[in-house]
């Protein structure tokens, strides 16, 4: 028996014998539960897009038939996000148009490296990198680099509709979206 209260609260279910579970909302938290004569209860947390479950062991005592499962035992189980591979993006760079601005205000060094071509592919996307983009990395004395790439790509097609190229995709690693207009003149947006 699953006791549902609302779509965002903890719900409890009895053990496989499904004998009896009672549950109460305490202090408005919606996470306290009472179980009787059970080794454990199963707790659910139901969100808009997901449901997590965890087994909560009741403290067992022959003399005590009712146990209150405290708030901290019913805390939300770990729901760490995970990563799913979607695309591979390659950007060819040009040594010829690379500029080294040296230390900026006595801090990290700024490079401007033109991106001359490349692609992004995968998950229904197939696009070609156009000339004109660039990487403006900051190189710190400890040799850590913060890349600052902005490139424009043309979409040749995407597999869901096989439409001809008529759309643009931009790829950026910063919100500044620097754009190299030539090897000797640069602007930022």
């Amino acid at each position: 028996v699953i006791h549902r209260h609302d779509t965002n609260s903890w719900l409890t279910e009895s053990d496989p014998n499904n004998v009896r579970v009672s549950r109460r909302e305490a202090g408005g938290h919606g996470r306290n539960a009472v179980c009787r004569n059970l080794d454990y209860i199963k707790a659910y947390h139901v969100g808009p897009n997901s449901q997590a479950t965890s087994n909560i062991h009741c403290p067992s005592s022959s003399s005590q038939k009712t146990h209150i499962i405290s708030h901290h035992l019913l805390k939300t189980p770990t729901m760490a996000p995970h990563l799913e591979k979607r695309f591979t993006m390659r950007g060819y760079t040009s040594k010829d148009g690379t500029c080294d601005l040296k230390a900026m205000r006595g801090g990290p060094s700024r490079l401007i490296v033109p991106v001359t071509g490349g692609f992004i592919k995968g998950h229904g996307v197939d696009a070609e990198v156009l000339r004109g983009g660039g990487d403006w990395p900051l190189v710190r004395p400890a040799m850590t680099v913060t890349a600052s790439i902005s490139s424009v790509l043309t979409l040749s097609h995407h597999s869901s509709t096989h439409q001809p190229a008529s759309h643009i995709l931009t790829f950026g690693l910063t919100r500044a979206h620097p754009t190299a207009t030539s090897s000797s003149s640069t602007t930022t947006e």
């Binding site: 993006m89 850590t144 790829f171 950026g172």
Partner: protein
């Protein structure tokens, strides 16, 4: 990106610069996309993580990212 010896060779244009593998470096990014394609508008709203490497081939030197969507 933490510049190591292999990356340094590529960044400096060394003749013995070589293609590396994903995971060879501590090199991560959080790319963003914008597109005019209505069918791909979803990628503007997704969260992304990229892992980088360098590629050296007949076309020259390139940075390459495997790009992952952050999902529940």
């Amino acid at each position: 990106m933490k510049v190591d010896e292999a990356l340094s060779k590529v960044l400096t244009g060394a003749d013995d610069a070589k293609t590396t593998s994903f995971g060879d470096h501590y090199w991560y990014s959080t790319p963003m996309f914008e597109t005019s394609d209505p069918a791909l508008k979803w990628i503007e709203d997704a969260a992304w993580v990229g892992q980088g490497r360098v590629v050296v081939d007949e076309s020259g030197a390139a940075v390459e990212y495997e790009i992952y969507q952050v999902v529940n």
